[in-house]
């Protein structure tokens, strides 16, 4: 039976429309599809075949089964805020958009868990339970619009994961549609350590390549009794980064420990949420501790002492909640703020051992000079998670390419000191080749072997996460051929 209002001769479009049931649940005209040709990573673009909007798990399963049976590449998409291109339809995929599956299904305060659909927006969860004094801990900067399903796919982090962990530490159960359309439930009732391999842990952060999450049980936490936030201004980046190491080694576990350098400060001060940071400082630290109020002063004093030993120019605690919120708004909108001082920018996401901060920042500075591009640094310093922002102007020939190369060089600098190429944004399309900075071909094959168990025909979100065109795949094929030849 044809769906009313569909004007297409493509039988797949007609059949997909049939599954979702009405013309408002499918997009297939080229001009409408352009909005879906990339996500938060805009340097690669490709048009999808169609975008479909399922309303429930059964719809998703039917869509997936249809794509699988007909060898149509497909992928799932949340709010499209991903920064590594995980939702870009590289192969003209059918995009299964999860935005209509956006219900908060249940909250169980007694057992501290909530069940949400994947399209439910991160911050809405906290807002829905705040009146009872609870919150959902992972807080990526895009939390006002990103979806929890997307957070699971990317294992999203955030400023406060220094103390509370990233998404994977808060996921208790998942309902998943596998790439053949089968529905499985992992971590039933949100009870930890269910017998078997930890598929919850494996699926979280698999960047939508192993299955499509349709229901998520998350842990919710009680709000800390109190929070205290400190801002520390430094005349030397080196002093600021030494202070970070000193705070961690002093046995303090801040809820958040953020840093921005001079160029980043120039950006946020020119954008929508200026704080009035002094223009001539080289770096600031934004440090938050939380917990039992009676214990916080001692921690704050320790932090202030550490900063003073490292020649801090000024260090002060937020006096009001309004002031604290202003500081955080300034930080959380930091990436976008670069738009105020540069026509284009590229966000990177390396991680390093915390004690190597001064050395790596110095190397990034050298990279900046080498490529002739300004690089701002906004980062979760407490985790060693750097976000170098390479500023460029795409209108100038060659700058886009130079920015990509400079970004990659920053990741190499992180890998060189024993770090990694992504702390929270994922590999996606963007860092496929950089996977080789940290993994051997054998190690990459060990991972693609796992993908084959879930996604044997690689129809789901193909071309993401792993180097391609795959030198690895070729090696693997060679190995297999050898084996066959021998046997």
């Amino acid at each position: 039976m044809a769906v009313k209002g569909i004007k297409s001769k493509d039988r797949h479009i007609l059949n997909l429309a049939n599954i979702v049931g009405d013309a408002r649940s499918i997009i297939y005209h080229k001009e409408d599809l352009i909005a879906y040709d990339c996500d938060g990573f805009t340097l690669h673009k490709h048009l999808p075949k169609a975008v479909v909007f399922p309303n429930n798990t059964d719809d998703v399963a039917a869509l997936v089964k249809y794509c699988s049976d007909n060898q149509l590449p497909f992928l799932a998409r949340g709010a499209g805020t991903g920064l590594s291109g995980g939702a870009i339809p590289l192969n003209g995929e059918v995009i299964i958009s999860m935005v209509r599956m956006k219900k908060l299904l249940s909250v169980d305060f007694e057992n501290r868990r909530a069940v949400v659909q994947p399209g439910f927006v991160n911050l809405k969860l906290t807002n829905s339970i705040a009146d009872k004094g609870y919150y959902y801990a992972p807080d990526p900067s895009s939390q006002y619009c990103c979806t929890i399903g997307g957070n699971v796919a990317e294992n999203a982090g955030g400023a406060h994961c220094l103390k509370y962990g990233v998404t994977t530490n808060h996921i208790l159960g998942l309902e998943v549609v596998l790439p053949n359309g089968e529905i499985v439930e992992i971590g039933a009732n949100g009870i930890p350590d269910a017998p078997g391999y930890d598929l919850l842990g494996l699926l979280t952060g698999s960047e939508g390549t192993l299955g499509i999450v349709t229901k998520i049980t998350v842990r919710i936490l009680k709000n800390p009794e109190a929070k205290k936030t400190v801002l520390a201004y430094f005349d030397k980046v080196e002093d600021g980064s030494q202070a970070v190491s000193d705070i961690i080694s002093a046995g303090i576990v801040p809820a958040a420990l953020e840093m921005m350098d001079k160029i980043a400060i120039e950006g946020v001060e020119a954008a929508a949420f200026p704080v009035g940071h002094p223009k001539d400082i080289e770096a600031f630290l934004l440090i938050e501790v939380d917990g039992i109020e009676a214990g916080l002063d001692e921690q704050i004093n320790n932090i202030m002492e550490v900063c003073k030993k490292r020649n801090v120019r000024e260090v002060r605690a937020a006096e009001t909640e309004e002031e604290r919120a202003r500081w955080w708004a300034n930080r959380k909108t930091g990436f976008g703020a670069m738009g105020a001082i540069s026509p284009d920018y590229l966000v990177q996401d390396g991680v390093i051992p915390r004690s190597r901060l001064p050395e790596v920042l110095n190397n990034i500075n050298n990279i900046s000079q080498e490529y002739g591009l300004r690089i701002a640094n906004i980062f979760h310093a407490g985790d060693g998670n750097l976000h170098p922002l390479v500023l460029f102007d795409a209108r100038i020939p060659g700058q886009r390419e130079a920015a990509l190369e400079a970004g990659s060089a920053c990741l190499q600098a992180c890998a060189d000191v024993g770090g990694t190429i992504t702390g929270e944004h994922g590999v996606g399309v963007e860092k496929r080749e950089e996977m080789r900075f940290v993994f051997t071909d054998e190690e990459i094959i060990a991972q693609t072997d796992i993908r084959e168990v879930f996604n044997p025909f690689n129809l789901l979100n193909a071309g993401k996460l792993f180097p391609t065109p795959g030198r690895c795949v070729e090696i693997k094929r060679e190995l297999k051929e050898k084996e066959t030849a021998i046997s």
Binding site: G157, G165, D198, G291, D383, N385, E443
Partner: protein, 437 residues
Amino acid sequence: MITAELLSEVKALIQEDRIVEGENDHLLGNNGLVKVYPQTEEEISAILKYANENGKKVFVEGNGTKRGFGGLSESADILLSLADYKGIVEHVVGDMTLTVKAGTNFKKLQDYLAEHKQKISLDPFHPEAATIGGIVSSNDSGPKRLGYGSSRDVVIGLRIVYPDGKVIRSGGRVVKNVAGYDMNKLFIGSMGTLGVFSEVTVKLRPLPKYESLILLFFPQGNMEEIKAFAQKLLDSTMEPVTLELLSPALSEGLTGQSCYTLAIGLEDVETSVQYQENFIKSIQPENTNMKILTLTDAQAFWNQFYSLHSLESESLITSASLKIGVVNMDVTQVMKESQLLGDSHHLEVQAHGGLGHGLCQVNLKGSKEDVVSAIQQMRETVAGLGGYVVIKHLPFALRQEVDTWGPKPAHFFLLEGIKSKVDPNKVLNPKRFVGGI
């Protein structure tokens, strides 16, 4: 193959004085015809490669504290012990990360870290004997999981020797990492069925500046009162690191008082701990008694707690240990059920469970038939609650009668698929895991 032949082949892989003939009558099974004690990763790799290419089976152990945990074959060809593969590879004090060889003793590790005012925030059972590799491999955790999480929250990197002898790294040495699949998770709790841990990298935490333990005794044993109190505490902004309910028999062994007891651990700076103590006093229910242990006294309590369940195997009395997972507040149901089973089956029962995380441990002692029957009954009850029962410790003979892991999950084909990708020849710990994996 006769053992002599196997022995001579193994001698080509590892120094002779690192090989012993296996003991074949161990009550807990999981034996090997030969037992080897490699000291290098190359040796581990050579042994696995040999086994993989020659159709041999390998069991893996650390120091043998989990020998009664799963396993349906009495003996493999080779029992690979990591007890001599030990030592710290790298401890970056300022980064609070630590890389150690898998056979390193947990208690010694914690003692060493304490000199730097740091710790691994895991509290497994039998820390004096257990190895870090065994703890992570079996995903063992204790009451402080409420405050600090479990292996999956602590392990940031692994070096794993695959069944074909290749060495694969997962994760890394940084505390935040989403490069590629989170393969660490796959190996944590995999019971050695996918690879042999060579090195484990963990993130560390500072030692708490102060700690205390509140023991709240409920002489009347009213479960509703216990639950109401626990909910009140959990709904407050207090931050207990344990909220463990102890059964009367367990509490008697630890505190001398035979009644349900809540062990509430507090770890923070002193002012914060004292503030929390005062809060808890202010909501102390009627008809309860309270005792507060601080610092070394609190630590002594926990040390005793972690080693209480004897690993000795006796032939006349059967001892079993169950790990039970339920929804947090259903811990009280599990505790009630274990008391009832103790009475109806003439068992010695010691049980405890975390009201903040839903994991319980129930230790049973009694006749063979009674233990088996009690486990089956407990499984039925817990299934009714939507939870699971895993048998952490049971003599080999009885593991044939009651499945260590319980029914296969509906997504078993995925687990099987992973196993056959990583270990197609089923070399490592065959039949040790869920559904005979």
